[in-house]
């Protein structure tokens, strides 16, 4: 009798698994075709629900950035039992194309037990259907819910190691500056007609005045700031791309800062969006923008604790292989 009741419950459960509506990564882009036209999910009893409290399963939809994983653990905790984890996409399973990315965890089963995997980069809607259909079958057959593994400890260990690396990195002496630089502003030193780009160099002391002058001339849009690291020369080159509002021609102002003292004036009062681009360059390259009101981590916050990852002498690939793949580049 009791077993009959349990089978009835399992049957009922398997009829309508609901998923947490959380578009965790790029795999989520194949969900609208699945949920709406042409596959119309709801006729099978599946549904994306906004709250984890109503959900039955969590889907890993692609690369697991570290920040997302913390959130997924949180969501999983809030989901009522029995709860299930399924995984689509390759990055969820092995790291996939992003095997050397410093900001992702490589395997979902480091954190949860997982009930089904569908490979693909990315899986098509049909494949997601197959995944959930099989989950249904498993629930019907009496699958017990998935569990959280001892994840916090792993995360804490990784982040602790990175913090130590950061300290060591900044304690190292910087190479001396050995770099030829000639100021050419306002003449172009390189000109690319087709993309309407003119590259010119200016010393960092004069950068802000040069930008102010350009802005007067109609270059009102700050397109981007690029930073290129040259450890051999002991400098970081900076390119400020500004764009003219009338004919969309661009000027790239090239300047440099020594690696021993990577400081430059912030230009956010001239270009409001510099506030965010500078913040990004700061965290990725370790260039300090003087006068910036809020110079702290932004995109890397929660993703990476180590030294500025885009510096050339920060070898993140080796680090990742060592930490997440146990030293084997092809390992799972």
């Amino acid at each position: 009798m009791a077993s009959l009741l349990r089978r009835l419950v399992d049957w009922a459960r398997s009829r309508s698994p609901w998923m947490i509506h959380y578009c965790a990564a790029c795999g989520a882009v194949e969900f609208p075709p699945l949920v709406m036209s042409p596959l119309d999910w709801e006729r099978y009893g599946y549904m994306p629900v906004p709250s984890p409290r109503q959900a039955d399963f969590v889907a890993g939809m692609g690369y697991l950035t570290r920040k997302t994983v913390k959130l997924m653990i949180n969501l999983f905790r809030q989901t009522p039992n029995p709860k299930f984890v399924v995984a689509g996409c390759n990055c969820t399973a092995t790291g996939g194309l992003y095997w050397d990315s410093y900001a992702t965890y490589k395997r979902l089963d480091d954190f949860f037990t997982v009930s089904g995997w569908v490979p693909g980069c990315m899986p098509m809607p049909d494949d997601w259907t197959a995944l959930i259909t099989d989950l249904r079958r498993q629930i019907y057959e009496g699958l017990k819910g998935d569990k959280l593994k001892d994840a916090e400890e792993f995360i804490a260990r990784v982040e602790e190691g990175e913090r130590k690396w950061r300290e060591e990195y900044f304690a190292k002496p910087q190479p001396p500056v050995n770099y030829a630089f000639k100021e050419t502003y306002p003449e172009c030193e390189e000109r690319y007609e087709r993309v309407k780009l003119c590259v010119t160099s200016v010393r960092r002391e004069r950068l802000k005045t040069a930008l102010a002058e350009l802005k007067e001339k109609g270059f009102v849009l700050l397109s981007n700031i690029d930073a290129v690291d040259y450890p051999k020369n002991g400098v970081i080159e900076l390119y400020y791309f500004v764009e003219n509002k009338d004919d969309s021609s661009q000027v790239a102002l090239k300047t440099f800062v020594p690696r021993s003292e990577p400081e430059i004036e912030s230009v956010h009062d001239l270009y409001p969006n510099a506030l965010f681009i500078e913040r990004e360059v700061y965290e990725m390259m370790g260039v300090v923008f003087k006068g910036h009101p809020e110079l702290r981590k932004w995109i890397l916050d929660g993703n990476w604790e180590g030294p500025p990852p885009l510096r050339k002498d920060v070898d993140t690939a080796t680090y990742v292989v060592k930490t997440f793949y146990g030293g084997d580049k092809y390992g799972r």
Binding site: C26, A28, T68, L71, Y98, Y192, S223, V228, Y239, G302
Partner: protein
């Protein structure tokens, strides 16, 4: 008036534009400050590019905006063309245009579904997705994958087009046009939609440009700013199209601009498809090592101007690759401006967000 309080919005929220969060400062119903919390999708493309080689780095180049990958793919291919100093055959250039324009339409249709979700008009969203589906099928047919096409490579395109390419492509443009027209009629003519979007999220074109934004947000504000016209890449100089603009610069105008853009894109595709025939050269092979130099490309993606800056010091891998994020100003400076200058309530906040059409992964990269 209720006191000030803080509200976290997203990333696990159906109204959030993908996997990004916001820290909202509220005063009663009104949002007075919105701080973006990015980073949930950060993979570090710029570093990963440096670990790849010239011939396989392009596999990464388009993955940071899943809704609209092809302009990014085309841009990286263009930048590498410049590094290697090769000139792809004309057929490849026309094909790249078709690819990028179809991607723009798919992206705008995806946006339609998202926007309509936030104003609560779900029915036409299904038709918009059907239009997108048709395009994805076309992509799967030509390139072998629905989302990540991997087809524009440095030096041209990867493979020749199928025999019946022209007829099927033209056929598709008419089918998509029918669907888009239906969606347009159902959306733009709807009074509820008008009420929810007129006068919401107003920003003028020039202001938006000064804040770093480009694309439909600027054009919706009345400024015909489009890289395809101003600094034509590929063969955009040889096709006829217009740059649609709005007047007021509110959410409705941006929707209008996007729908008009779809029609312009279809126009471009029809002209370009005439130049793409099976047979003939489609690719110049690039060598394994690059000369030192610089590559730079500017393209118009569905969300605005996108640039790639490639630094090469020779050797087998890029030395440094830098991408511009077209969505970053939308959710930072532009959103800030809108919230400061008008009364955005929490109910309107998703509408404002959706009307800006940010692409979350492209902020984080």
């Amino acid at each position: 008036m209720a006191g000030r309080y803080t509200l976290y919005f997203g990333p696990q929220h159906p109204g959030a534009p993908g996997n990004v969060g916001f820290r909202l400062e509220m005063e009663g119903e009104r949002v007075v400050r919105a701080e973006l919390i990015p980073g949930f999708l950060h993979r570090g493309f710029e570093k990963m590019m440096e670990n790849r080689k010239w011939e396989n780095s392009y596999v990464l180049s388009y993955r940071f905006c899943v809704e609209d990958p092809d302009p990014f793919e085309v841009a990286y291919a263009e930048a590498l063309d410049m590094v290697f100093k090769v000139d792809p055959p004309p057929k490849a250039k026309y094909f790249r245009m078709i690819q990028a324009e179809f991607s723009r339409i798919a992206s705008h249709m995806f946006w339609t579904h998202f926007m309509l979700g936030s104003v609560g008009l779900r029915t036409p969203a299904y038709w918009a997705l059907a239009a997108r589906e048709e395009i994805l099928k076309w992509f799967a047919w030509v390139t072998g994958h629905r989302i990540y096409h991997n087809f524009s490579v440095p030096g041209g395109i990867r493979s020749d087009v199928p025999q019946d390419f022209q007829s099927r492509t033209l056929d598709l443009t008419y089918r998509v046009e029918d669907l888009v027209k239906d969606v347009e009629k159902a959306v733009l003519g709807n009074r509820v939609f008008k009420r929810r979007t007129r006068g919401v999220g107003v920003i003028k074109g020039e202001t938006a440009l000064r804040l770093g934004a480009t694309g439909p947000v600027v054009r919706g504000g009345g400024l015909a700013y489009d890289v395809r016209k101003l600094a034509p890449y590929e063969r955009y100089d040889s096709v006829n199209f217009e740059v649609p603009v709005g007047e007021v610069g509110d959410a409705y105008d941006r929707a209008l601009v996007r729908f008009r853009e779809v029609h312009e894109s279809l126009k471009i595709i029809r002209q370009a498809a005439m130049e793409v025939r099976p047979g003939g050269p489609y690719r110049v092979k690039i060598p394994l090592t690059a000369p030192p130099g610089r590559g730079y490309a500017r393209v118009e993606s569905a969300r605005g101007e996108y640039t790639v800056h490639v630094t090469s010091v020779g050797g087998r891998s890029p030395y440094r690759v830098r991408f511009k994020s077209p969505s970053m100003p939308l959710l930072t400076t532009v959103l800030d401006y809108i919230i400061k200058n008008e009364e955005v309530t929490i109910a309107d906040f998703p509408v404002v967000l959706a009307s800006l059409d940010p692409c979350a992964p492209d902020i984080d990269r």
